[in-house]
């Protein structure tokens, strides 16, 4: 009989299973109030819940039979030939791993590099066919160029001694086929595998390699759960009967019946493969769609007893909706699969990158926040606005916008979240400026009585050189307390308000120093201690580095006596900062992994727990704070679009954003009365300039000026000036007469986000932003008649391509498309079928457009594609196209010179790429931020400004100058 204790554990465990993470915590709080041991036990079991899902789901019988089966195969084939124990080339063969369609696979040790590899020997019947052999070599060599985490790496191709083999990465794990048990996969697992395979395909497709044989047998899941795609391009090698069609691999060989072969072959074919047509990259996407369908439902999309039936079904029928077979499938995922499985190639995903980004977005939606309708790569604010006002994707996307404004110079090119989101502003915050420095102040800290404000002045970001300043509130002048201009971070007052602690960083030697508030010499308090705060009169909490952990949280006395570890973050994570709750039970921990800031965590002061993530989902969380009553947690976090402040009810409310301005907010010091907080607000200033042979001329004198455009005759400069610093995306249009310096506002009161001037300088087309809607308007530049609306509804990115034609972007049913129309607004036609995010540029000859597409990765949201206007395959210009640091990302600016002899691409610098008669550069760095890669491109001119617009002739251009400022503000709390 089960003990009472076990019964208790079991009941609580079962009761918690259907609950969300937060609900579980709450329920545990109640159920285990006086029984921490029970809580530990149940939590420990729950920790295995996810992993246990697949555990033991294949009966022992199957496991053993499979193992035996392998053994059998080995035994039978080793009777004919075994290479075990032999050395081929410099590979010492250790054991046989299996046999597949492409031959026999051995585990071998590379005696030169002392690593294990898998050697795949070509079957003899192919190895003896010279044509097959050369095809094998060619394909394997091509595939060996693929270097991607989700592609099984090919190390070597050889046919030494008449034995053709490939040496490839040795993998631990099993094929996806083996994991398929006729049951649906967990959605998360499916999305992970799906997006990884798509990423692998994308990498291969970019180098012109089509897999041709994507199926569960060719997708390997290693022991860490990562997907590895096998046998790229090899399908092409193995053709039977000398057939010239692109038949996929027939894995199986002679033992399979004729019927079995046919079914197996057809099972993951695309319609074009089945029909024997020429294949392109989209065939792989169809096959991936089939794999995803099977993972989602446990069933083949097209099944039948004979190949003829499968064929017919593949070519004519629509598979049963996945959600009918598995109701757990999110609607968005079903749409992704449906799009991949379109029988017409043109209706499918045009690239693996787009499919991947959709899968990632579904995955992100699954992980947190409300579901957003997806599918097409990009979607405008319409989605965001249909969401609840706070949290989730909508805000995330909206947020990206605000980061973008920081670089308003580039505004016009930036993604399409740029509309004022009235719905997002649920929390109304009032700003009161506390400091007024021309440079930057960061890291605000308030004394316990709330009357003194400490800060670090001088650094541009939150870790840089500077000195500690102190200001008596409300009106005192800031006083400088330290004078060493060393690298500093983090400030905290001692409980009696007499000292301020700060971290001094000398390389990786991080020390805590204190300085008296009344002035005096700073002194070192503790070595190897950073982010120190007082948690009582006698105790401090700080981060320290040890041999084993990059940075963990500890408490101790000021002399480091009684040191106790509170929290050791996951491997390779560093816990940089910590904030104790007013009831002294919880800590908000700020940490970093190898890639940057991670979400904040809530961990118990009692220690012994890894805690859980809090604050905005998947955000870079850099500072946190508590309200004095402990009811609210505050965060400074970048959830995809720049740093803003968030709050969340303790312990498990929804994170909601509380600042939305065009600025960025970092650092939080909550006042003792809990009614306001102090934060460092960053903003940027921008002026527009013209460069001519005579030199540089500043044109704008006040306000934030951006988008400078030189008229065709070079006599005028048009530009936008931001109207309201808190409403970022719009400005008023100005024109300046360069010879006289005369400036005027052209359309006072009209909010414009983008504009374009006709080549004859007569007409202006612009996007008017009004109450969250954008529409296109046309006006003669002499303003003899008022502007008239050209395109109602949601439209943007207008560009004159000639005096008579305009390209633009219009939203239709949630998707955005590039259109062209006559300048009078008639005859609008779609240019490319793809759902894009924004139109960045049209080549002067109107033959190529550059569009931006959301990649699904909030850290690197932009992928740029160049599409031929007359149809044809798009080209990816860059994969990592988001410009900036981890903390700010915006789209690059892309422009052709008006004579189409050069392309201008601006990141934080501008690169001028000679085109030598082509429409596009031969290649851009995969990562636009990679200076080294740029340097390797021949003939490129680098200009040290982030915003350049080519003028009417190569000697003239307009540009922006941008500067950053940070000051402290008091924000009233909602």
């Amino acid at each position: 009989m089960p003990s009472e204790r076990w019964q208790q554990i079991k009941e609580l465990h079962d009761a918690l299973i259907p609950l969300s993470e937060n609900e579980r915590k709450a329920a545990l709080d109640v159920a285990c109030r006086n029984d921490p041991e029970l809580r530990r036990e149940v939590e420990s079991l729950l920790a295995y819940e996810k992993r246990a899902a697949n555990f033991m789901e294949s009966p022992a019988y199957q496991v053993l039979a499979e193992e035996l089966g392998r053994h059998e195969t080995q035994a039978s084939s080793s009777r004919s030939e075994t290479l075990v124990g032999q050395t081929v080339s410099h590979y010492h063969i250790v054991e046989k791993l299996g046999a597949g369609g492409m031959g026999v696979v051995y585990k071998a040790e590379d005696s030169r590099l002392h690593r294990f590899v898998a050697l795949k020997f070509l079957p003899e019947e192919l190895a003896s066919d010279p044509q097959a052999l050369s095809r094998f070599r060619r394909e394997a060599q091509a595939a060996s160029a693929l270097n991607h985490p989700n592609i099984c790496t090919i190390h070597d191709v050889s046919d030494e001694g008449g034995r053709a083999f490939i040496a490839m990465e040795f993998l631990n794990g099993q094929t996806l086929r083996r994991m398929m048990s006729g049951r649906p996969f967990e959605v998360e697992q499916l999305l992970k595998i799906g997006s990884e395979v798509a990423d692998a395909l994308d990498a291969a497709h970019q180098t012109g390699i089509i897999h041709r044989d994507i199926k569960p047998e060719n997708i390997f899941i290693n022991s860490r759960g990562d997907a590895k795609v096998l046998d790229f391009g090899l399908a092409k090698v193995q053709r039977h009967n000398g057939s010239s069609s692109d038949a996929p691999t027939i894995t199986g060989g002679d033992k399979v019946t004729e019927q079995g072969v046919a079914i197996g072959t057809v099972a993951y074919m695309s319609p074009e493969q089945a029909k024997g047509e020429i294949l392109d990259t989209r065939t792989d996407l169809f096959s991936l769609g089939l794999v995803l369908y099977e993972m989602a439902t446990g069933k083949r999309a097209f099944a039948g007893a004979t190949s003829a039936i499968v064929f017919a079904s593949l070519l004519k029928e629509r598979p049963q909706p996945a959600s009918e077979l598995n109701p757990a499938i999110p609607a968005q995922l079903e749409l992704v699969i449906g799009k991949a499985l379109a029988k017409e190639r043109a209706l499918r995903y045009s690239s693996a990158a787009i499919m991947r980004s959709d899968l990632l977005r579904v995955r992100k939606d699954q992980k947190g926040g409300p579901a957003v309708p997806v599918v097409s790569p990009l979607r405008g604010v319409a989605d965001a606005e249909s969401l609840p006002a706070i949290a989730g994707m909508g805000v995330r996307r909206w947020l990206t916008l605000s980061a973008i404004i920081l670089f308003v110079c580039l505004l016009a090119t930036v993604f399409f979240w740029r509309r004022e989101s009235s719905s997002a502003g649920s929390a109304i915050v009032e700003y009161t400026q506390l400091t007024n420095f021309a440079d930057s102040v960061t890291s605000p800290a308030l004394s316990p009585d709330g009357r003194m404000l400490a800060m670090i002045r001088g650094q541009e970001s939150f870790m840089g050189t500077g000195d500690v300043y102190l200001k008596l509130l409300p009106d005192g002048d800031p006083v400088q307390l330290t004078h060493d201009d060393s690298t500093k971070l983090g400030l905290a007052f001692s409980p009696d308000g007499s000292r301020i602690a700060y971290t001094r960083a000398v390389g990786w030697d991080w020390q805590t120093w204190t300085v008296p508030v009344l002035g005096g010499e700073p002194s070192e308090l503790l070595p190897n201690a950073s982010g120190l705060t007082w948690i009582s009169r006698k105790q401090v909490m700080f981060s320290e580095m040890t041999k084993d952990t990059p940075m963990r949280l500890v408490t101790a006395s000021e002399s480091r006596a009684d040191e106790r570890t509170i929290y050791t973050p996951a491997e390779k994570h560093m816990a940089h900062r910590s904030y104790l709750s007013p009831d002294a039970k919880w800590i908000l921990a700020v940490e970093m992994d190898t890639e940057g800031w991670t979400p904040c965590r809530l961990v118990p002061l009692a220690g012994g727990s890894e805690g859980r993530e809090v604050g905005p989902v998947a955000a870079e969380c850099t500072e946190a704070a508590w309200s004095p009553d402990g009811r609210w947690m505050y965060f400074a976090a970048n959830a995809g679009g720049g740093y803003h402040l968030w709050r969340q009810k303790f312990p498990s409310g929804r994170p909601e954003q509380i600042t939305f301005a065009a600025t960025e907010e970092r650092g939080i010091a909550v006042s003792p009365d809990g009614r306001s907080l102090v934060t460092s607000v960053g903003s940027q200033q921008s002026t527009v300039w013209v460069h001519t042979r005579k030199g540089d001329q500043q044109v704008s004198s006040q306000g934030f000026a951006y988008l400078p455009y030189l008229s065709a005759n070079g006599e005028k400069l048009y530009y936008l000036v931001r109207t309201n610093p808190n409403k970022f995306v719009t400005g008023e249009l100005w024109s300046a007469e360069l010879s006289t310096g005369h400036k005027e506002k052209l359309f006072p009161g009209i909010s414009i986000s983008r504009y374009s001037v006709s080549p004859d300088d007569q007409t202006l087309v612009f996007t008017r932003n009004d109450g969250g809607h954008s529409s296109l308007w046309l006006s003669p530049l002499d303003r003899h008649s008022p502007p008239k609306q050209l395109v109602a509804g949601e439209a943007d990115d207008p560009m004159f391509t000639s005096d008579r034609e305009i390209f633009f972007v219009r939203e239709e049913g949630g998707a955005k498309h590039v259109f062209r129309m006559k300048a009078d607004g008639s005859d609008a036609q779609k240019v490319i079928p793809e759902d894009i995010h924004s139109l960045l540029a049209v080549s002067p000859d109107h033959r190529v457009i550059v569009v931006a597409i959301y990649s699904g990765d909030p850290k690197q949201p932009q992928t740029l594609f160049a599409y031929p206007v007359d149809g044809g395959a798009p080209r990816i210009l860059c994969r990592v196209c988001g410009i900036g640091t981890l903390e700010q990302i915006w789209a690059p600016l892309v422009n052709w010179s008006r004579d189409q002899k050069a392309m201008y691409v601006s990141t934080d610098k501008t690169y001028v790429i000679p085109l030598n008669g082509r429409a596009l550069p031969t290649s851009l760095p995969r990562n636009l931020n990679d200076d080294q890669a740029w340097m390797k491109k021949p003939g490129i001119r680098v200009m040290d400004t982030p915003c350049v617009f080519p003028g009417p002739d190569p000697s003239m251009y307009s540009f922006c100058k941008v500067s950053t400022q940070r000051n402290l503000y008091r924000l009233s709390l909602p």
């Binding site: 089960p2 039979a65 035996l68 794990g173 099993q174 860490r224 759960g225 033992k255 046919a262």
Partner: protein
């Protein structure tokens, strides 16, 4: 491979279930042979176009072993229950012998359950699992029985419920918790007081 006589198997099974341990020694090679036959079948399944449901596969073994309407089994599920225990014995024995073979240098590369316990060979894992399951039986006898029937016996939730005379929901809950407990036990290695 055809079994030499299904009635013989049946008789041995009955004898074993009645407590005659020596019957097992005679049964094992017969079942083992059948296992091999299916294992071979399995390799074929690895190829495209063939998907056999694991439960169906195990049922097939049973049906092949005992395909005689005249046998006095109280019920089909009772028979499965007996078979599950038998299977556990045989499979663990087999795993032990495979481990022995492996030590003797005849390594086989395959993993029991990808995302669970990495590093170990399936044979080792089966043995460890068997030990953990015996431990678990002291804590929750019924749930351990559910594991035996599901994992070693290959029965469906429905069949287990039928056999144990409890609701499917109960079986499902027992199964879920038992898996979690066992996985934790195997992952942590050490003993844990409950």
């Amino acid at each position: 491979m055809e079994l030499s006589g299904k009635n013989e198997v049946t008789r041995l099974l009955q004898a074993w279930s009645a407590g005659d341990e020596s019957a097992l020694d005679k049964l094992t090679p017969l079942i083992y042979a059948e296992l091999r036959r299916l294992a071979h079948h399995y390799m074929v399944r690895e190829r495209p176009g063939h998907t056999l449901q694991p439960t169906a596969l195990v049922n097939e073994v049973y049906l092949r072993l005992v395909d005689s309407p005249g046998i006095e089994w109280q019920s089909r599920s009772h028979f499965f229950g007996i078979c599950a225990r038998l299977m556990r014995r045989i499979l663990i024995d087999s795993a032990r012998s495979r481990r022995y073979q492996k030590r003797a240098g005849n390594a086989v590369h395959i993993s029991l359950e990808e995302a669970t316990i990495t590093g170990a060979e399936p044979a080792d894992e089966l043995i460890a699992l068997d030990a953990a399951l015996s431990e678990f039986a002291d804590i929750d006898e019924r749930a351990s029985r559910v594991v035996e029937l599901r994992f070693f016996g290959g029965l469906s939730v429905d069949e287990v419920a039928n056999f144990l005379g409890v609701s499917q929901e109960t079986v499902f809950r027992d199964w879920r918790l038992a898996k979690t407990w066992l996985l934790r036990r195997l992952s942590e290695g050490g003993h844990r007081a409950v």
